[in-house]
Symmetry: C2
Subunit: 191 residues, 2 copies
């Protein structure tokens, strides 16, 4: 059992909260009005858009020291909707890792829509969360906690694989925005 | 109905051939011993590893003029197995497009394993081929032909999206190589 802090109360924050709660973990949520509320979780999920990450790091960087920090962002360039807003050979997770050297940063939840995460299913398949990062113990801990919440989780490799997870997340968003797949569907995994 | 030339007689060439044949199209295959056999198809599939593409272009570039050329490669760096062998902000398809300015180059078939393509299914889901490219008419023609062969096909965007399709293909290969998903499974699409 873990104690989880989720920063962000949007659709993704709520869906991620439901997975952790189903797994018997305790969850505390942080909205925009909670700037003065201290973070007490061992796992901290940044369930916010990529452009909002810097403010959270500036505000709470000290509180994130030593914690497992989960980046869920898809850093889509929303002006062009045709590329990502991070260097092509890098990832949002790598950028965030650079800004939080004392935290154990992981990528997760960016390849599942809020709807499929909350439902626990993508069509006939159980929803699978892809996790990447270089801290093997942190990654194993997060995968264990997620797996108890009615969805599957797969170790997808080290921090470098966050690039591919973000490409997949972007592709899925662009397919949904183009009405090629529904926001309740998208990519599922047969493992 | 189309007349299709497939260069490459490996697992992928055979699986792609089976899709086109099921759709009522005629298929001609080209192996290594067929250097002098002329290409007669309207659609030409380069079902070969990325490092072999340059030789085919050198040998058959003139014959590919005006034709729909389908790049199926996943240009994985097989020395490190940790990155792609094309520029991070580009794709194998973009590189090939630059070398075949008179052809109508498309990306397809790189996100489906040979096994799921031949079976027509990824677990409980019908196999879906993702297609990208800037020539809308060529793309529509290829999607139509594929769709008649017992699998689905989705227009995944312009040439720039080949980058994300190759990231997805690489991710899927790395998950299979790491025994996280079977070569008969992987990513399916709920549309």
């Amino acid at each position: 059992m873990a104690h989880v802090s989720i920063i962000g109360t949007g659709n993704m924050g709520e869906a991620i909260s439901s997975v952790f709660t189903k797994g018997g973990n305790t969850v505390e949520m942080f909205g925009k009005a909670d700037a003065d509320k201290p973070i007490t979780g061992d796992i901290v999920v940044l369930a916010i858009p990529y452009p909002a990450v810097d403010d959270v790091i500036a505000q709470r960087g000290d509180q994130l020291q030593g914690k497992i920090v989960v980046d869920i962002t898809n850093p889509v360039n929303f002006e062009t909707f045709d590329s990502l807003a991070v260097p092509a050979n890098s990832s949002a997770t790598a950028v965030i890792t650079g800004k939080l050297p004392g935290s154990r940063v992981l990528k997760a939840f960016n390849t599942t829509f809020a709807g499929t995460l909350a439902a626990g299913a993508v069509g006939p398949l159980t929803t699978t969360v892809l996790v990447a990062g270089d801290d093997a113990d942190a990654k194993a801990a997060l995968i264990d906690v997620i797996s108890r919440g009615g969805v599957k989780a797969i170790d997808s490799g080290g921090l470098k694989r966050a690039r591919e997870l973000e490409a997949l997340g972007f592709l899925q968003i662009s397919l949904a925005a183009g009405e090629k797949v529904p926001w309740t569907g998208g990519f599922g995994i047969v493992a």
